[in-house]
């Protein structure tokens, strides 16, 4: 079973005509992408012409030549530059740190923040994750202020996010006044009640779909009406059924954003994460994008890895950031996260944008490498990419992505 697409009768290619690229059939179109995330959406006859070789007089030439798809007019210097910028050679360190505050005491919180600030990188995001703010409020209060001070002292931009199921209006006000973005954990089921407010006022939402989640456009209107700036939808379960339901819901949700997004303030965090185009931009990518810290002070390769002893890297009390490359788990997750090491990913048109975090593979398929053909996480990300890329010839979609500062030109 393959999730890749193929031609019933493969087109004939003239050697030396087309530059290296991957293709994917999307309906009656052929999407082509190169190593660096440049793309073009062609009709099947156009694709056949492209493979057979085109000259400067062909109307495809001005479309494909600047994007580096023509072997005879390939800009090797630009390709080398783009390759360096997008590969791990330009990686500066994990930018996102998930602090799982439930069960964390103040001394542990202090040591955790100090560990986070020992990590390099031009900017740091600390996501404070907890269930009910009342249960951990002194720790939330301390971390928000300590991290702000550490950011000022180290002269690095620090983004703070507090993700919870519930918090009081006073707590939300305190966080707002300290520049902490609030993110509410939601469960979406059925249709939205437009009059029903979320648990607290937040800019972001992490919304897990229930089995009966319906009317994605109405949910998008609900998020917009309650002032959310971005949403990350999550599947009800990571299996075939969950992936199919998610794909349908996400497609409707993104469709609403394409139609109304120019006048709305809502953004889709999946789209932003995938189109970042770098492994270390993909949310939750073990070590490269994220580290996580639990209440007992253990460091994990990501939030998804928390509680998995094999993906525990050490304790914030004794572990040093510079020790990470010597740990077996580090080498294993970095090798497993690289699409060039995965049979399906290395041939996939979405390779420049997408990868499944090894901790997700391990949790749901038992091994860091996972099995891409039957991976629901892969199906979900591929479905999202299909939805985005097949919409790229739509000016409304391009305008929306431009508004979100995503460069897809």
């Amino acid at each position: 079973m393959s999730k890749l697409t193929s031609f019933e009768k493969p087109p004939k290619a003239r050697p030396g005509a087309a530059a290296p690229h991957q293709f994917r059939l999307l309906g009656k179109k052929v999407l082509i992408t190169d190593e660096h995330g440049r793309w073009a959406l062609l009709t099947i006859p156009e694709y056949r012409r492209f493979l057979a070789g085109i000259g400067p007089e062909d109307p495809l030439w001005p479309v494909l030549q600047p994007r580096g798809f023509l072997a005879g007019a390939y800009d090797f210097d630009a390709a080398a530059r783009r390759q360096f910028e997008r590969s791990l050679l330009s990686w500066k360190g994990p930018g996102s740190h998930a602090l799982l505050l439930d069960g964390m005491d103040l001394d542990g919180a202090r040591r955790t923040v100090e560990f986070v600030f020992s990590c390099p990188g031009p900017q740091l995001t600390l996501e404070l994750v907890f269930d009910d703010a009342d249960a951990v409020w002194p720790v939330v209060w301390f971390v928000a202020q300590y991290a702000r001070r550490k950011g000022e002292w180290s002269r690095r931009p620090v983004f703070l996010i507090a993700r919870a199921r519930s918090m009081s209006p006073d707590q939300a006000d305190f966080l707002r006044s300290h520049g902490v973005t609030r993110c509410v954990d939601l469960a979406l089921d059925g249709k939205p009640d437009m009059a029903k407010a979320p648990a607290f006022r937040a800019q972001r939402a992490r919304a897990r779909l229930g089995p009966g989640a319906a009317e994605p456009a109405a949910w998008a209107r609900w998020f917009e009406a309650w002032g959310f700036e971005s949403v990350r939808l999550l599947p009800s379960s990571l299996d075939e059924k969950g992936a199919e339901a998610f794909a349908r819901f996400h497609s409707g949700f993104f469709g609403w954003l394409i139609e109304h997004g120019e006048g709305a303030g809502l953004r889709d965090e999946w789209v932003l994460g995938l189109l970042g185009g770098r492994l270390w931009n993909l949310p939750g990518m073990d070590i490269l994008e994220q580290l996580a810290y639990d209440g007992a002070g253990r460091v994990y390769t990501s939030e998804e890895a928390a509680a998995d002893a094999e993906l525990a890297l050490g304790s914030v009390s004794t572990l040093r950031y510079q020790d990470l490359p010597r740990l077996p788990a580090t080498g294993a997750v970095i090798a497993a996260s690289h699409p060039d090491d995965q049979p399906l990913c290395s041939q996939c048109a979405y390779r420049p944008f997408c990868a499944v975090p090894p901790s997700v593979n391990k949790k749901h398929q038992g091994g860091l490498w996972g099995q891409t053909p039957s991976s629901a996480a892969c199906s979900i990300q591929m479905g999202i990419m299909d939805r985005i890329l097949e919409s790229l010839n739509d000016e409304k979609c391009l305008n929306l992505l431009n508004k979100w500062s995503v460069d897809m030109v």
């Binding site: 050679l89 990686w91 002194p138 301390f142 950031y321 970095i334 995965q342 039957s374």
Partner: protein, 133 residues
């Protein structure tokens, strides 16, 4: 795949399957089953014995899971080897230079008073937070 006395048995031809692939398949089953392997010049014979008594459907599922992982491992190794010149060029310098941590704050190093003031500031914050508990 054949079901024999509560186990699932099959034969895998060489060179498509190697011992590493079989080990990967066995690892995927973990403590749910024992895997016995015999070897001839041309093939491996494999017997998977579940840890607890299993229905024919579950036995076939165990065998399928083993085969999926074994084949996936073999193919992945081919891909890894084929792409090695590219991935090594990225991974080797990444691990060779290590993960340098942020150096100590030069201001704190040069001005001990700055370090002391900051430590007091944090101590006050901690005391306030403890007062809330």
């Amino acid at each position: 795949m054949k079901l024999v006395k509560g186990s699932v048995v099959f034969t895998l031809g060489k060179p498509l399957y190697g011992s590493e692939g079989l080990a990967a398949g066995a690892l995927a089953l973990g403590t749910r089953a024992q895997v016995f392997v015999g070897e001839t010049k041309a093939a491996f014979s494999v017997e998977i014995k579940p840890a607890a008594k299993a229905s024919p459907e579950k036995l076939l599922a165990l065998g399928g899971e083993f085969l999926n992982e074994a084949l996936n491992h073999e193919y992945r190794q081919r891909v890894v080897r084929a792409n090695a010149p590219l991935t090594q060029a990225v991974f080797a310098p990444l691990f060779a230079k290590g993960f340098p941590a942020v150096p100590a704050d030069p201001l704190e190093e040069l001005e001990p008073q700055v370090k002391a003031d900051r430590a007091k500031d944090i101590g006050d914050l901690l005391a306030q937070a403890r007062g809330m508990s």
